[in-house]
């Protein structure tokens, strides 16, 4: 077992930056983004084009999610930022620092239950979210059909006509070639029975937790300039066949080396001594469990 860290993450946020607007973007830009968000909520899974702004974070590093977060936050909000499930992954730290420096009255946290807005790259927190919490996903490639059709004009037509035949054929061919559907993270799903959506590169493990979730999920692709949403209590059904059903990743009896979990998404970590151990990718969830166990172990 590996000991969890004793203290919570600190950011070393530094001074608020001067000369910039509250939450970086100018207010008219934020308003334009919120309008795109409304449209996205009204048409679940539909990719709304928006006038994506450049941020001081590079394209492909979370600018879509961050534009959504910036256009939503205000005094009283508490933001949690995770990357690969971890609060202290370098990019998550950097994004959280930017939020802290440009919106000094917004709180930040690593505790999932405390957050009003959770911005994430590649993971959904293990802890189920409440209705008042908003999940913001960073999306690299919003178009689930891109790998079977490179032209944007054509994929828009396919979505417009709900013509997903080539997607089904691609999945079928995967089975013919490989005996199973080999797609892993970013598994396509049908939202509200209408639009096929990329859930962003979250593992298959996370996909069932989007289905009929109590919370609102927002997806932002800054470079590709698309925003989409899964409103609360909306169906999110992974594309699969009756005889080849969807299945999440399996860890074949592995448990987390820190908290012993067998019920969370684990990531393999090779050590210098040549062994591979597994740990939870959701660090907040993992360390919570480990600390709770440590308290129970204390003599009373």
């Amino acid at each position: 077992m590996i000991a969890p860290p004793a203290v919570a993450v600190t950011n070393g946020a530094g001074k608020p930056i001067t000369g910039y607007n509250y939450a970086f973007l100018d207010e008219l830009s934020k308003k334009a983004i919120r309008r795109a968000l409304f449209k996205a909520v009204a048409i679940p899974g539909y990719q709304v084009p928006f006038g994506s702004r450049e941020l001081p974070i590079a394209r492909g590093w979370g600018t879509g999610g961050l534009q959504i977060t910036f256009s939503l936050i205000g005094p009283g909000d508490v933001v949690k930022v995770i990357d690969q499930g971890a609060d202290d992954s370098v990019n998550a730290v950097n994004i959280r620092r930017l939020i802290e420096r440009t919106a000094p009255d917004v709180g930040t946290t690593t505790v999932t239950a405390e957050a009003t807005i959770i911005q994430s790259r590649h993971r959904t927190p293990e802890l189920p979210l409440r209705a008042e919490q908003i999940m913001v996903y960073q999306v690299p490639l919003p178009e689930p059909l891109r790998l079977i059709e490179r032209r944007e004009a054509e994929t828009r037509r396919m979505h417009g006509e709900a013509d997903y035949s080539r997607m089904w054929v691609a999945l079928y061919e995967d089975i013919v070639r490989n005996g199973r559907i080999t797609r892993a993270a970013g598994y396509p799903a049908l939202v509200h029975g209408r639009h096929v959506m990329s859930p962003s590169p979250i593992p298959k493990w996370d996909l069932p937790r989007l289905h009929m979730a109590a919370n609102l999920s927002l997806f932002g692709a800054g470079r590709e300039k698309r925003i989409y949403a899964v409103p609360p209590h909306t169906s999110v059904v992974p594309l699969a066949f009756e005889d080849f059903p969807f299945a999440v990743e399996r860890f074949a009896g592995k448990r987390c080396a820190i908290c012993g979990s067998q019920e969370s998404f684990l990531v393999p970590t090779p050590s210098e001594r040549g062994e591979t151990f597994y740990v939870c990718s959701d660090t907040a969830w993992c360390f919570d469990r480990a600390r709770a166990q440590a308290r129970e172990d204390l003599p009373r």
Binding site: R59, G179, F265, V267
Partner: protein, 413 residues
């Protein structure tokens, strides 16, 4: 030290920030003055303004110094700053022949109305390193070499000798394209001004197919090298359009005009230095179309500052995209709107390419579980058609082997 989310990301990036806060100067070395960057690295400043989409020489110079000369990074800083500025108003359109040109050439005719002015260019110089100045701090600045005033228009016109006898050059020259219109070589200008609102790709994302105003705006902000690459591919036969001769290339200052908020009259608030290119070439005869069309077409490039290779590339690609829109022939990359416009924005392409440096262990791990099951090394039965496997223990060395072999395959492909 720690890069992944093991622990310590905050400390590591704070340390990295401390390292880049100091420019790598020696103890007795002065920081470059922004004025030195702005004037002596003028081409870099111009390129950063163009790709950053913001005409701000001082900010571009600041970005270049802060980025230690990294052009992509500097253009990115300028773009990011641009996002914080509200859109307060719109300028009036200006015609290219209102430009006060400091350089103007045409390759279509031996003599052109208004004459040619070679100006400051390295085109016909020999690109020899000035080794005599290698150890000194460079040459002595010419006292009159102001790049913003009238002096840089004192150039060399049509073989005229340098010196006080320079022919009169007030910077305003008619367009070769207008002469070609008079010769009925190209289509006449529309009789009325087209008041269609131009697309603004910074306010609404491109929806394909896009119109010409969108692709011109996108390319004006495009990355120089990427535009040169695609334009060059068109010249070498991968698609391309009609246009291969420069009717007009001019560098100079265009007025920026706004409506005065009180008087309601247009007023000039300043000038911007731009490079403007009009290219012409023979149109391809269209079959079945009984109408006689003019034998030549025209394409356009306009970029901030002096960046001639980008402006020429933009005009070549404008022509290639027009050819692509008319649906003629077999489209090559340069004729394909999505290909050209999605892949020539430097901020987006370098950002996404470099995002591969971010941790990816969740997606990698998710794929790894599939691979392990396929290979049967996770104690799981391979190809489970019913989506179920029996539990088992992984051999630690087998996991390592599989990771190593999948790396090998990726490298070989």
């Amino acid at each position: 030290m720690a890069y992944t989310s093991v622990r310590g990301g905050a400390e590591a990036i704070a340390a990295a920030e401390r390292l880049i806060a100091q420019l790598p100067t020696e103890p007795d070395e002065a920081l470059l003055e922004l004025r030195q960057v702005r004037n002596q690295l003028r081409a870099a400043v111009d390129q950063v303004m163009g790709e950053g989409g913001l005409y701000a020489p001082d900010l571009a110079a600041l970005a270049l110094r802060q980025a230690e000369g990294d052009m992509a990074e500097a253009a990115f800083m300028v773009r990011a700053y641009r996002s914080t500025l509200p859109r307060l108003g719109y300028t009036h359109p200006v015609r290219g022949d209102e430009m006060l040109a400091v350089r103007r050439i045409s390759s279509t005719f031996r003599d052109v109305p208004g004459g040619q002015l070679l100006g400051r260019t390295r085109d016909y110089t020999q690109r020899l390193l000035d080794l005599a100045h290698q150890t000194s701090n460079g040459g002595v600045a010419a006292p009159s070499m102001s790049l913003n005033g009238q002096t840089d228009r004192a150039g060399y016109q049509d073989g005229a000798a340098e010196g006080p006898d320079l022919p009169h050059w007030d910077g305003r020259v008619p367009k070769v394209s207008d002469a070609m219109r008079a010769m009925r070589l190209i289509e006449p200008l529309p009789s009325s001004t087209d008041d269609t609102e131009p697309v603004d790709i910074t306010r609404a994302s491109m929806r394909f197919p896009v119109g010409r105003s969108a692709w011109l705006q996108a390319m004006a902000r495009g990355e120089t090298g990427a535009l040169v690459c695609l334009a060059y591919s068109a010249m070498r036969g991968y698609g391309g359009g009609d246009h291969g001769t420069i009717a007009d290339l001019r560098v100079g200052d265009l007025p920026v005009r706004l409506t005065h908020p009180l008087t309601g009259k247009p007023m000039t608030i300043g000038h911007i230095r731009v490079t403007e290119v009009e290219m012409t070439g023979r149109t391809r005869p269209r079959e079945g179309d009984g109408k006689r069309q003019p034998p030549y077409g025209l394409s356009y490039g306009l970029v901030f500052g002096q960046n001639e290779r980008k402006a020429i590339s933009m005009a070549l690609l404008d022509s290639a995209l027009m050819a692509g829109s008319s649906g003629e022939g077999n489209p090559a990359p340069a004729n394909d709107q999505e290909m050209v416009l999605y892949h020539t924005d430097g901020i987006e392409s370098f950002g996404f390419v470099e995002h591969l440096k971010l941790p990816h262990f969740v997606t990698f791990g998710s794929g790894l579980q599939v691979s392990l099951e396929d290979a049967g090394v996770n104690g799981s039965a391979p190809p489970p058609s019913n989506g179920r496997t029996k539990d088992g223990r992984a051999s630690v060395s087998a996991v390592g082997d599989l990771v190593a072999s999948s790396h090998g395959q990726a490298g070989a492909s």
